[in-house]
Point group: C2
Chain length 369, copies 2
């Protein structure tokens, strides 16, 4: 597959850590929320095996925060998501699909409640800030919506716990999954959550002071030598195996949260008020005709730039949206939007790439390892 360079510009913003990762062997970028997001160092497969055994530090500053402050902040956050946040607690993270009035997906962020009147929406790749601004202006809500200069460092992998304990002290090991708290490093306070876009365990450090963040970054690599720490990035193989969805890849504004298997994050029973509630009621009543499922394909490589049709005889089974060669399965695995008639596991299909037909089967998400 032919490779192309990325043309840099201020519009694709660098992060505080860009110069570090570029001198640490970065080879490829993607962009995300108008920012550079590292995409490869030694190669996705090598990085996959390393992530599952050791520890990596990821520059995921591109995971931008939409900050909502003010008297009506809880109301605005709830208006945008179908997840019931009425019993949410300060100090906790909530995976919360953001939808529009038609009940279609806009984003799948982590919502962090810092205070009754202060929230961060840790966003996937779409301008949730503009949606929030439009709503706030339209409804004359008393809120301030902004994108503060917060740059996340993720520390991921099974040895992340030992590394973080060594650098930040015993207390960090007591942090529960999807909880956050403040921790001190060299006199600077860091907001840290036990979270991250892998299923290998780890933390996300919300760097609010760039200089202090760089000092912590360097210390993670210094202290991490004994744990075989490496720079890394969200890993396509690991995230597909784990069934972690990617906004813009696996779903977009043409899909609703039921089709994305987000049922447990949808509340249409209680009295909470959010956009798209009526639309979701209708969708639930009618039932969905397609949903995201796993697929396995007899191929040893694949490139995805747009969805690809999956067929059985002459009928469309569904559309493949993300895919990668997974060494564990010795096949390409992927996530596809599959029509109801084909939800039976082990449905076989064909996918045509470069005029060659390849066989595949449907399976559950996450993949059984």
């Amino acid at each position: 597959m032919k490779k192309f360079y990325i043309a840099k510009a201020r519009r694709l913003r660098g992060t505080p850590f860009t110069s570090r990762i570029e001198s640490q062997g970065l080879t490829a970028y993607t962009t995300y929320n108008h920012m550079l997001l590292p995409a490869a160092f030694e190669g996705t497969e090598k990085e996959y095996f390393h992530l599952k055994e050791h520890v990596q530090v990821w520059d995921v500053a591109a995971e931008r925060q939409v900050q909502i402050i003010g008297k009506d902040s809880a109301k605005l956050v709830q208006l945008m998501t179908c997840r019931n946040l009425s019993n949410s607690k300060v100090g906790r993270c909530y995976y919360a699909p953001i939808i529009d009035e038609q009940g279609n997906m806009i984003n799948d962020p982590i919502v962090l409640k810092l205070d009754e009147n202060k929230w961060w929406i840790s966003s996937a790749d779409s301008d949730v800030e503009l949606y929030a601004k439009g709503l706030a202006s339209g409804l004359k809500l008393q809120v301030e919506v902004s994108e503060p200069d917060i740059n996340i460092l993720a520390v991921q992998g099974p040895k992340s716990f030992k590394l973080m304990e060594k650098v930040l002290g015993k207390k960090i090991t007591e942090l529960k999954f999807f909880a956050f708290d403040y921790f001190i490093f060299k006199g600077n306070k860091f907001f840290i959550a036990r979270s991250g876009w892998s299923k290998q365990g780890g933390f996300e450090i919300y760097v609010e002071n760039r200089e202090a963040g760089l000092s912590l970054y360097d210390e993670l690599f210094l202290a991490g030598k004994e744990f075989n720490v490496k720079p890394g990035c969200p890993n396509l193989i690991e995230r597909i195996e784990s069934g972690l969805l990617s906004c813009g890849n696996d779903f977009d504004n043409g899909d609703n949260p039921y089709e994305c298997n987000f049922d447990k994050y949808i509340d249409i029973q209680s009295s909470i008020d959010y956009l798209g509630k009526k639309a979701l009621e209708k969708i639930l009543h009618k039932g969905i005709n397609r949903k995201l499922m796993g697929v396995k394909i007899d191929l040893d490589k694949i490139e995805m730039m747009e969805e690809r049709v999956l067929k059985k005889d002459k009928s469309v089974v569904g559309h493949l949206r993300s895919a990668v060669y997974a060494p564990h399965f010795k096949k390409v695995i992927g996530i596809g939007m599959i029509k109801k008639e084909y939800w039976d596991k082990k449905t076989s299909f064909e996918i045509e790439i470069n005029n060659k037909k390849n066989k595949g089967i449907i399976c559950d998400l996450p993949f059984k390892m």
Copy 2:
């Protein structure tokens, strides 16, 4: 300067023309509105000279349309922009800054009025669709907001008129600047505007039918041989020389339209209603302390990933936001946000890059050639 690859994924959507440009010598991409936008073929300088003399076909599908249809569509479009659109005409394009309630920039699209109740907002790189959706839901407006599958081909350069006449007939030469109309090619109707992101003249073809678009694309190259047609892309040298601003590069949500010299697109006199009107009144009353201006720097290359400080002695003169080496000036030229004390033309400054200080001067936009 070290180069990095771009990692492809469905999230960075390909266009109908991606396979064409990749086989025509593309070397680099940028991303724009969650889509691939070509950034280089033979190199910015070679392409600059070619664009100014011949004709280029650009895949600018990334310039997405936000379509607003319905009874309240004119109201919603006007709410988002400080430009007075109350006398706007069907069949015309309007450059219209989009701002938020605080009077800060969100986008600088071309607004196209297709009908009293049908508008396209041809957007720069931010999700105007989400801003419009938030506003529409908040205000319960009777509109449909969507991103239709429209993919723009720009035909730019002095020979674009001859090429378009050859392919589409005499009538296209009668199209006035910033007007649009429908034209027939091989039985397919194409929406074409006399517009484009260069000052070399040309057209933008809003391709609504992918297959027909590819056929037209191929014909433009076939018929264009005698005009030395080449594939191209928005050219950094040409657009900076011409003073064409780039959203996300030259301005962002931290800047207001007065600071961007958009005075003639701001109406605070009439009774039109838009978000940020009160904020702009205050800004006008108080006066601005900085604005975008041109700069020339004694350098033969530069890379921009974030704004760079311009200093005079120990004082900050302003910040450089876009810059490129311009062969005409045998210098780096750029666009910077300059503090009021330094608006006097020919103010000199220093810019430090890699620990080396370089001299520069302030000048007007667009650059005098």
